[in-house]
């Protein structure tokens, strides 16, 4: 029984000569990935020489975003495995490659050891004299901080491997993920401004991560179907992915507002400071652009049922979301690091973005290549 056959749109036939073979596509992808990563590293290097503040901030952004991609894929996989979902069978191959990013992202996070005092106020020697930070230094100190990074990535990689290779341990992963991802958000992003806190911050981070994960899965599914690698993907999957994207775009906006509204309404000085900067400075247009990219545009674009099944509309919406998530992270990381200076877009930013694309392809492609091998049988959900 194959319900998807009913609506399957004509897909490309690999045996026909006008389409590239698997090896040719792989070669192209690999070349592109290496070029992008090399260029990205070069740009980040220039950035490090000219403005270390921006460069380290972008290393953090890149590492965090790659973590988000990896965890996004893993989390989707885990949900579908726990719920025994069948609709996603054809696109699982696109998910399964994403966790391969986690080791690279982990290494990049560990590389922050050298830039910690540039980014994090608590890592500087003068933090010991700061009465606001005094109690928090128990939790926020270099050995413990990087120890936690090691622990988190260790757990994610181990549990992720178990899910990807054997289709087991999804429920355990979801529990572990819930705790570790919350702490990771608090640790890596929120402590850039250690005196500021928001209890919903981790959920906000999660909503962005999940939204981006769906966008990337959708993009990969569409691209791979177009080049003929995942011919079994049909309109039904596109529709489902479109619905997920639409729903979690709304979810993101819901959480965004939940954080913003309380800070805005309560107007407690220590909480309001970052929002005030956002509302009354050169950051303001980007603050609103963030809402438009992550919520406004996808909402309007995907409202119709027709749009959710239209690959072109879906692609545009997904790339809007990707740009939105990058901007979201930029707005989380840069303002506290720059201490209120105006936004800027330089070598480091370009480098970070190129590196994300390059490393993303480099890590995911080999895993995916193994998966699309027709002899390979996917592990069934347990």
């Amino acid at each position: 029984m194959k319900p998807n056959q009913v609506f399957s749109v004509p897909s490309r036939d690999l045996t026909r000569p006008q389409f590239p073979t698997l090896a040719e596509i792989g070669e192209k992808f690999r070349l592109g990935a290496w070029t992008l990563s090399g260029l990205g590293l070069l740009m980040l290097g220039i950035g490090l020489a000219t403005s270390p503040l921006h460069a380290w901030a972008n290393v953090l952004m890149t590492a965090f975003n790659l973590t988000c991609v990896g965890l996004g894929g893993l989390f989707l996989l885990a949900i579908q495995s726990t719920t025994g979902a069948r609709w996603s069978d054809p696109i699982l191959k696109a998910h399964r490659a994403m966790p391969a990013l986690l080791p690279i992202a982990g290494l990049m996070m560990l590389a922050l050891w050298f830039g910690a005092d540039t980014l994090y106020p608590w890592a500087r020697p003068e933090a010991h004299g700061d009465h606001l930070l005094k109690g928090r230094l128990v939790w926020l100190n270099r050995p413990f901080f990087f120890g936690r990074i090691l622990l988190f990535f260790g757990l994610w990689i181990l549990l992720g491997r178990r899910i990807v290779q054997r289709g087991k341990g999804s429920a355990v992963f979801i529990l572990v993920f819930g705790v570790t991802f919350v702490l990771a958000n608090f640790d890596w992003i929120m402590t850039l401004e250690p005196a500021w806190n928001s209890t919903i911050f981790a959920i906000y981070g999660f909503s962005g991560m999940f939204l981006q994960g769906i966008a990337i899965v959708t993009i990969s599914a569409i691209v791979l179907r177009r080049v003929g690698l995942l011919p079994e993907i049909s309109k039904a999957q596109n529709h489902d992915l479109g619905k997920l994207l639409f729903a979690f775009s709304c979810f993101w906006a819901y959480i965004w507002l939940s954080q913003f509204l309380l800070v805005w309404y309560a107007n407690i000085p220590e909480e309001t400071a970052p929002i005030r900067l956002m509302l009354n400075s050169k950051w303001t247009p980007f603050f609103y652009l963030n809402l438009v990219l992550n919520f406004g545009l996808p909402f309007v674009m995907l409202l119709q049922r027709k749009a959710k099944t239209n690959e072109r509309v879906l692609m545009v919406a997904c790339f809007t979301v990707l740009a939105g998530h990058w901007l979201d992270l930029y707005l989380m990381v840069l303002p506290p690091v720059l201490k209120g200076a105006s936004p800027s877009f330089g070598f480091s930013e370009v480098g970070g973005i190129l590196l994300q694309f390059g490393l993303g392809h480099m890590a995911c492609w080999p895993v995916f290549m193994k998966d699309v091998n027709p002899e390979q049988e996917l592990p069934q959900a347990g």
Partner: protein, 398 residues
Amino acid sequence: MRNTDAITLTRFRASFADPHLLLEAVKRLKQEGYPIIDTYSPFPVHGMDEAIGLKPSRLPRACLAFGLLGLATALGVQIWTSAYDYPLIVGGKPLVSLPAFIPVSFELTVLFAGLGVVASLFVASGMRPKFKVPDLHPGVNDDRFVVAGEIQAGASFTVVQSLMASLGALETELLVEDKSQTDHSLLDREAKPLAFLLAAIPAVLVLAALPLLNRNYLKRNLAWDGGMMAPVAYQSFDPHPSLPGGQVLQTPPAGTVSRKGLVPLPFGPGKVEAERAGLELKNPFQPSQENFSRGKLVYDRSCAACHGLDGDNNSSVIVARGLLAPAILVAPVVRNMPDGLLFHVATFGGPQKMKGLGDLISRDDRWKVVLYIRELQRAAAPKPLPAPAPSPSTGATS
């Protein structure tokens, strides 16, 4: 609308035990050219809409319209009430502060869209009380998956039956229209006036609310006393059934330092109150050297400028300037006033120009000043020695 009489014996239904068999059967029937009336299943079968060839539903449009209506209603009500009808600054925010309106707008959008689309579904599909799908297979609420179709002219039922059986149908039968059921619906009977009445209720309610929208701010409003104007709490001096001492106000703990000084002075300003003070108050201080010296000090500082150092206006500054002369303290009229009255005048002011000094001079000091004034009067008395005889008769009643 189908003409039910014409097709009564050309409709059939086939039931299956599996949704996938049903899907296959529907596709096969479509292929063979049998019109499908509908399918019935305990849960939605994935892909069935496309297999039957249903057009995309128009309900999303109703959903969008109702959602926008809800959004407009929520924003309209909030902006109108909080910025125009009763402008009230809350939390230092602007009158029209959109972030604060978002939660309500969101909820009302969802509410309107949800209820509206369900209502639209009912209206569009003719759903109403006692509505029954004609001759529905009893198993479709449980474990049966049923397709109903029509037999074209020229085809026979046995052909359909064998086709369905080959596709795994549990049973295939001809449908018999149960006409008696269709006559029981609410709208088909003589219920139309009632329906119009029901529909008019919201309109009447809206009309009734119109006077509220047209308010005149120059007229006194009718206030709704929600019970907040009369507090139910005990007042300080009320008796209390269970507190120690039987009253609400408790004695402060030992060693408590009073912020204001003494217990409340139960008098107000005015002539009547002054006379009452004269009757009720006694000077708590006895004549002594200490009290006299304190009284003299305060008198010389605060009173002598107008009344003169000896209370006879001789050294009065304002008299020297030719202004209104104050009362002569050593005069018989004042001499015959009770202590309490003098104290009241010192506290709240006199009947003419004198200001009350109650908030400048402490209560004890005012009493000591009264003592000192009596001393001044005694000192001044020897001169008009024969005078005391007539003075009581004139001053006692004042």
